[in-house]
């Protein structure tokens, strides 16, 4: 995608180009129709040439157990009795492509995270410094650090396919306002309880990140100075950026 189409860029102050605009896009996942077949998870691996290791069964249908650098789309399975009726809640987990992306705000590496004018938030691994701030900044706990190359990976919303006019490799509306809306729209059969699917009820970009973005990106010196501080705050908020929160370990 041409640089002209980039709307926002991490750790950069230069204004976005505005000579032309692209059509904003969104992916809709209608969970009420989803049967958890994992074809999307498989297609994501096929298209992006991702081949994770053959794992183990730890008592769940969710395989692998969590998102990782080779798994950008993951079907998560949870069981819950709602109004005395057993529900098998199946959710496609992956990046929501927030309108106000916490990862991009948190990222200190210029251009490592970009937001296209069509709404896709994409990681540019060549510019990534592996600090993991994006992981802490993400309200959905999506990005994953690859140990072997110290780069962070996540769903691209098939930016390479969308750029050439192809659709995605995959197939009550959950479109949280706290992140300015998302470019992945979820239809949840039990829309009044997103937590049952493992989704945060009210995700929002942390106040520290708002501060970080608006007031601090003036000079490189200030950025460096406050970076340490913000990292500390984020670490406190998330109990360490690389740990998987307890509520994500489900079946």
């Amino acid at each position: 995608m041409a640089s002209l189409d980039i709307k926002a860029r991490s750790a950069s102050t230069s204004p976005a180009p505005s000579a032309r605009s692209t059509l904003e896009i969104a992916k809709m996942v209608d969970v009420s129709r989803c049967i958890g077949c994992k074809a999307c998870q498989s297609a994501c691996m096929e298209w992006n040439d991702l081949r994770g290791s053959v794992g183990t069964n730890d008592g769940f249908y969710t395989n692998p157990a969590d998102l990782n650098d080779q798994t950008w789309t993951l079907m998560r399975f949870r069981e819950e009795e709602i109004n005395d009726s057993l529900q098998w809640l199946i959710l496609k987990d992956g990046c929501f492509h927030c309108e106000d992306p916490g990862c991009l705000r948190a990222c200190p590496a210029p251009g490592a995270i970009i937001q296209f004018s069509n709404g896709i938030v994409d990681f540019q691994q060549d510019a990534c410094i592996g600090c993991g701030y994006c992981i802490a900044g993400c309200p959905f706990n999506i990005p994953r650090l690859r140990k072997e190359d110290s780069k962070v990976y996540k769903c691209t919303l098939c930016s390479d396919r969308v750029a050439v006019g192809l659709g995605y490799a995959q197939a009550a509306v959950y479109d949280p306002k706290g992140v300015g809306g998302t470019h992945v729209v979820m239809v949840l059969p039990h829309g009044d309880r997103p937590e049952s699917y493992g989704l945060p009820a009210h995700p929002r970009v942390g106040p520290a990140l708002a501060l970080w973005r608006s007031g601090l990106a003036r000079t490189a010196g200030v950025v460096t100075m406050f970076g340490v501080l913000v990292a500390g705050i984020l670490h406190y908020m998330r109990h360490g950026p690389l740990e998987v929160p307890e509520e994500k370990k489900e079946g």
Binding site: G36, C37, K38, R51, T56, N57, G59, F60, W88, G251
Partner: protein
């Protein structure tokens, strides 16, 4: 299919995938299409969205199909007949029956012989020593013309309708709860939903698969639902039907082409020892008409058979030599795979050719199979994958603990192509023959199956030519006119199935015209003749490759009525008909049952609508030609003497049952006519030793034993597991993710435990019943983690009609694996 053919006349999915969208109620029982048929399941979702359809799921497990259902009810594995008989009883008691349909299109009014009866679990004519029925009494009362007597008022106590009411009256909601463990309230809720489709304006489709066929009474489970669909008037209707979802791509094509041991192509049957000549053979296969004026389509059997013989032996099949009837083998009994492996285990077989088939993984009692394969001199495996069967002699530690030094079987592996590496047609569940085109070359030395068989055949023929033999004629005279004899092309074979005119075939309606001129491809099976002027390799496929070319390759998706009857898309047998028995979509006068459900109607001169009529096109309603044209009655059979185990379904327990007695209250515990070999009976376990019900099944992430060979499949579902309830886990001290040992009388496996609310604990027969769910997909080869073949555990006993093994209900014990086996 063995439950459908004796009821409706043909053994195949009656409607088709797309048609599911027309349903008002979708019932799934005996299947799990969201997981086993995820792509076709989109039509269920379509019915929910576009038609506000209610999805009902009944299953021992809460499956991914249940996850999107409107109503789910649990059931004890193997008790389906009791549930369905209870459902039928509810409909009959509440009079939720489409009476006009039942009266006109079923044998409800037919009078059954006075000496037919049912008592204490057995029908009349039972021979305990032979474990079979003498079916003499299973017949209608006939009038002086040989036609069945009927009572249109349905009041005669000997009419099928009254016998049916009496037979099912024992299956009360309380009894259903006791037998099946399904809570009465949930059962009644489902009865109400199903009963709502007795209205002509509402239609229910039923979807099932191996969850019904893999029982010792599987055919009868299917039949019970077929009877319910008849009572509700849901057969022949768009959005209705009995929809058998096939478990393999092209397994429909396999049965269509007669690859079962008792069949010839097109469901013609192979002669037996008793069929000493063609006249005897034919006489037994042409049913006598049971009502006046019916099509009794199988009266054309001779045309199909002679055309088949002409396709196979051409000029060598003449009227004088009984159309080469002597060339066909005459079997002395069934040669289903259970019998074949029994014979092999007894050392009665020298060689076995295994084409596209992995029996070591797919058939019951792995220890018996290893013994059987080890006693062969040679085994040939024709397969695109390295199968466990072809590697049965390899030691893979605990997963295949054999001693190769003691096995003398010589194994030949002939690598073949996958579907994407060849042209050809596949027959889907909905009977569509869809042509497909090769996408890639096969790897290495792999060859297409036709080429492998072509080379084998031409070499064998050469040997017969050179060396003679006891009876070389069938081999030497076999028609083999392919451009490259060692490699027949898919196009040549497809044209041969369709059939060709060997001489001009005059049009019987207009002697100045011809249905086909000599050498032309035949337009359909209506042109077949029994005088040797036509050849057709599979009569039901006649019409697939006509003078107009390859009809299977058509891709016109236009659907003017919106009902999914896309007659220009591929080609469906028979005669490009999309919904079977579609004459029944109209009332006896030829008008739609409801304006909302209009499909085929009589326009005063002929049958019209979006489909090909399943009826003589000009048969006026007043001629009273019944819509089930393959049956001698012209109607469908609520009472069906064609099955081996009873004209009505009856609940029997699985051969391994947690219960001590049959809770319906009869003395007969298990299917009294299912075949059991003595050595297999010794290997049945009891509830005392093995207290838990086990059931095996597939998962969405894998296809049988294939996709464990692919990396992505292996990542998505990497390791063998079993599923148990939270209650059983607690009782046995098993935590989620623990390694467990599962034992049956036949062997043991170890696997991870998935402890889940989705495995219900049921109360049945006065006791708690726990179920252990066992997915099948692992083995000792492939990219997924090594696992046990689950058929280490399963028993060797098959359905009484078709010998499909009982994989869905048997007994096991489970415990936490000893430490160190993590």
């Amino acid at each position: 299919v063995a439950g459908l053919a004796p009821t409706f006349g043909r053994g195949a999915m009656t409607n088709h995938w797309v048609d599911i969208k027309n349903a008002d109620v979708v019932m799934v029982m005996g299947g799990n299409p969201a997981e086993a048929h995820p792509c076709g399941f989109k039509w269920v979702i379509e019915a929910k969205i576009k038609n506000k359809a209610t999805l009902v799921v009944v299953d021992p497990r809460f499956t991914r199909t249940a996850a999107v259902a409107d109503v789910y009810a649990p059931i004890r594995a193997g008790s389906d007949i009791a549930f369905l008989a209870g459902l039928a009883n509810y409909l009959l008691q509440k009079d939720l029956v489409q009476h006009e349909y039942v009266k006109a299109y079923t044998n409800a009014s037919y009078i059954v012989r006075q000496d037919y009866g049912f008592d204490d679990g057995l029908f009349t004519g039972y021979d305990e020593a032979k474990r079979s029925y003498d079916k003499t009494t299973w017949a209608y009362e006939l009038d002086k013309d040989g036609f069945a007597k009927v009572d249109e008022t349905l009041q005669d106590p000997r009419c099928v309708y009254q016998l049916l009411k009496g037979h099912f009256s024992r299956y009360t909601p309380e009894k259903v709860e006791e037998i099946c463990g399904t809570p009465k309230a949930q059962f009644l809720k489902i009865c109400e939903i199903v009963g709502s489709t007795s209205s002509p304006a509402k239609v229910m489709t039923h979807l099932y698969a191996l969850g019904w066929t893999q029982h010792s009474q599987g055919s009868q489970m299917i039949r019970t639902m077929a009877m319910i669909q008849l009572l509700l008037g849901n057969m022949g209707m768009p959005g209705g039907g009995m929809n058998a979802l096939r478990g393999h791509s092209n397994i429909q094509g396999l049965t269509d082409l007669g690859l079962l041991s008792h069949l010839l192509p097109g469901y013609l049957t192979i002669p037996t020892e008793a069929d000493t000549d063609y006249a005897t053979y034919l006489e037994k296969r042409i049913p006598k008409p049971l009502r006046p004026g019916q099509m009794n389509y199988l009266s054309n059997y001779g045309k199909f058979f002679v055309s088949l013989q002409k396709a196979w032996w051409g000029a060598a099949a003449t009227k004088e030599n009984d159309w080469a009837f002597g060339y066909l083998p005459k079997i002395d009994g069934g040669y289903d795979v259970l019998r074949v492996f029994e014979n092999m285990a007894q050392g009665k077989m020298n060689g076995y050719i295994c084409q596209g088939f992995n029996p070591l993984a797919s058939f019951p009692d792995k220890a018996k199979l290893i013994k059987a394969l080890s006693s062969l001199k040679f085994l040939v495996s024709i397969d695109p994958l390295a199968t466990e069967t072809a590697s049965f002699w390899e030691n893979h530690g605990e997963y295949n603990d054999v001693d190769p030094a003691t096995i003398q079987t010589e194994v030949f592996r002939l690598p073949s192509t996958c579907f994407a590496e060849e042209d050809g047609s596949l027959v889907n569940s909905g009977r569509w023959l869809q042509w497909h085109w090769k996408a890639a070359d096969p790897p290495g030395d792999a060859k297409g199956d036709q080429e492998i068989v072509g080379e084998l055949f031409t070499r064998i023929r050469d040997l017969y030519r050179k060396e003679g033999g006891t009876f070389p004629d069938p081999i030497l005279n076999l028609t083999w006119a392919y451009k490259q004899p060692a490699s027949p092309s898919p196009e040549e074979l497809a044209k041969e199935f369709n059939g060709v005119a060997l001489a001009d075939v005059p049009d019987p309606k207009d002697p100045t015209k011809f249905l086909a001129k000599e050498g032309e491809q035949l337009p359909g099976f209506g042109a077949l003749r029994d005088d040797g002027t036509t050849a057709s390799g599979c009569w039901i496929f006649a019409g697939a490759w006509t003078q107009n070319g390859n009809q299977m390759a058509r891709r016109d998706a236009s659907d003017p009525t919106g009902l999914g009857a896309t007659g220009g898309w591929a080609w469906a047998w028979p005669a490009n008909r999309r919904i079977l028995y579609n004459r029944a979509s109209a009332d006896p006068a030829g008008k739609p049952w409801s304006p909302k459900k209009k499909y085929m109607t009589w326009n005063g001169a002929k049958w019209v609508g979006p489909d090909v009529p399943d009826m003589r096109p000009d048969a006026a309603p007043q001629e009273n030609v019944g819509p089930f044209i393959m049956n001698a009655e012209g109607v469908a059979r609520l009472w069906a003497p064609g099955l081996t185990d009873g004209p009505f379904p009856e609940h029997y327990e699985p051969f391994e049952t947690p219960l001590a007695r049959n809770p319906i209250g009869t003395k007969v515990l298990s299917n009294p006519v299912a075949r059991v070999y003595p050595s297999d009976r010794e290997k049945f376990g009891t509830a005392k030793e093995f207290p838990y019900v086990a059931t095996t099944y597939r998962l969405t992430e894998h296809f049988h034993f294939w996709t464990k060979h692919t990396r992505i499949g292996a990542v998505l579902q990497p390791e063998q597991f079993v599923e148990i309830s939270e209650g059983l886990a607690k009782k046995k001290g098993i935590a989620n993710g623990d390694r467990v040992v599962v034992r049956s009388k036949r062997g043991k496996i170890t696997a991870k435990a998935v402890v889940t609310k989705r495995m219900p604990t049921l109360k049945a027969g006065g006791q708690e019943v726990e179920t252990v769910g066992i997915p099948i997909h692992w083995g000792f080869l492939g990219q997924a983690r090594k696992g046990y073949l689950t058929n280490t555990l399963t028993p060797t006993v098959g359905d009484a009609n078709i010998q499909t093994p009982e994989y869905k209900a048997f007994l096991v014990d489970i415990e936490k694996a000893p430490a160190g086996q993590a």
